[in-house]
């Protein structure tokens, strides 16, 4: 029954997504495809971080009546770790900014050479 723990499942899926994303970043030749793989990688890492903060059988860190029911009037026994969640919140917004920036570069690169293939951009290759 160990496999049926939610934290471990989240961790596993996160790792799988990270590997798939890495594969895409390394193997693809199209710039847009690379950026898509990058967003998948991003999602996987966020999943790993949230899964690390999950505690079995507990509820979201928002204190109201149901928290007191679950934890016997003790908040410490009722909620999951709020710190990774706050971290991931920041990470997602910054990931959006990074994606937007990458896409702006991609647009400029396409305008310069009319191609999206990464092998065509070899000006700095020696």
């Amino acid at each position: 029954m160990e496999i049926f723990e939610l934290g471990k499942i989240g961790l596993l899926i996160g790792f799988l997504l990270v590997i798939v994303g890495f594969w895409g970043v390394l193997q693809q030749k199209n710039i847009i495809k690379i950026i898509v793989s990058f967003t998948i990688l991003n999602t996987g890492i966020n999943l790993v971080m949230v899964a690390l903060g999950y505690v079995k059988g507990r509820t979201a860190p928002i204190i109201d009546d149901s928290v007191e029911q679950i934890g016997n009037h003790n908040v410490l026994n009722a909620i999951v770790d709020p710190v990774p969640q706050a971290l991931v919140l920041t990470a997602i917004v910054i990931g959006f900014g990074v994606t937007a920036l990458l896409l702006a570069y991609a647009m400029k690169l396409f305008k310069a050479k009319k191609s999206l293939d990464i092998n065509d951009f070899n000006d700095l290759k020696w």
């Binding site: 799988l16 967003t39 998948i40 949230v50 059988g57």
Partner: protein, 85 residues
């Protein structure tokens, strides 16, 4: 306690779906399909965040990670299509 098992089953189902979608996103030749598949991965990630008791993160992922990113991707794709024609 029963809840935990239901959550796990849902998480395994959604997780398999996400991994399949991610592989589709990378292997499919058409860019638009790849982008939609990446959007689906983000949307299901948000359900998974909710299962792991992180509603704030789920909301952010649904709004920013999936919706607005997809929009920007499609703007870029549209412009590339326009310039190619």
């Amino acid at each position: 306690m029963n809840n935990e098992i239901i959550y796990s089953v849902v998480a395994i189902g959604i997780g398999l779906l996400m991994v399949i979608m991610a592989v589709i996103a990378i292997l499919n030749k058409k860019l638009s399909v790849a982008i939609i598949a990446a959007g689906v991965v983000s949307l299901f990630a948000s359900v998974l965040f909710l299962l792991m008791s992180a509603p704030d993160v789920a909301m952010t992922e649904a709004a920013i990670g999936s919706g607005l990113s997809t929009l920007i991707f499609f703007y870029v794709l549209n412009k590339i299509k326009r310039q190619n024609a």
